[in-house]
Point group: C2
DNA sequence: TCCTTGTACTATTTGTTATAGTACAATTAA
DNA sequence: TTAATTGTACTATAACAAATAGTACAAGGA
């Protein structure tokens, strides 16, 4: 399932799994209803413990991004538009916070745009 | 020394101290040559262990942001322009990364600017 | 029947963060 | 001189989250 994990990162593995799957949903790599790797398979693929994947899947299920069906497998939820917009919203908010930081240090909006090349 | 620590944050206390002092230097609240709180004083003020403050100060000294003089105290370095620019650079880089994420999801630069109101 | 699925536990290990405590040498102030 | 303060340098321990290890169960599918 092409998930990239940075084992040196301070971000916990289970959270990286969440973020990667969220990204694939936002990108349209994973689509509503689609079955994703089983907990055991993904754990094997990433070389990590099944419990760690389970933790990530639990979080994704709580966010209504995936649905887990006992004895069947795990699937992307039927409606992920809410999750997509929430992701965009959270990134926008993070950027705004950082722009404010730059302004506090004394950079103008024009300077910032110039440095960002946008 | 008006440092704000979030004890619930996942960011370690010692790192929050580093970030706060870096910010005050960038903002011009703390200026070159100026003496800052002693390790013991700041620890007391924040209600944390002196070893934790010492760790933060060690990192700041490594970054050439402060200078510690045995038996005298700790001071803002004489030249912090490099540190200031490094901070701006790192924030710019973080923003760029997040903008790329939004573009990957399918947002245009115009849409992004609109959402950011810049 | 056998394999796979998600689920649900407990116990243990590991690594980082933070605290506790002590000690030393050098400077400063009383 | 004396007492207090400074950064420095240790060791030991506590606390916590992350991750692993291992086991077991019930249900669906081939």
């Amino acid at each position: 399932m092409n998930i990239n994990i940075d084992y040196q990162s301070r971000v916990p593995i289970y959270e990286q799994v969440v973020l990667e799957i969220e990204k694939m949903v936002a990108l349209g790599v994973l689509n509503p209803g689609e079955q994703i790797s089983s907990i055991r398979d993904l754990a094997c693929e990433l070389g990590i413990n099944p419990n760690t994947v389970k933790k990530a899947y639990d979080i994704l299920e709580n966010k209504n991004i995936i649905v887990s069906k006992s004895t069947k497998g795990s699937f992307i939820a039927d409606d992920v538009t809410g999750a997509k917009e929430a992701k965009v919203e959270s990134i926008i908010k993070e950027i705004k916070t950082k722009i404010e930081e730059l302004e506090n240090i004394g950079m103008s909006k024009e300077e910032i745009k110039k440095r960002l090349k946008i």
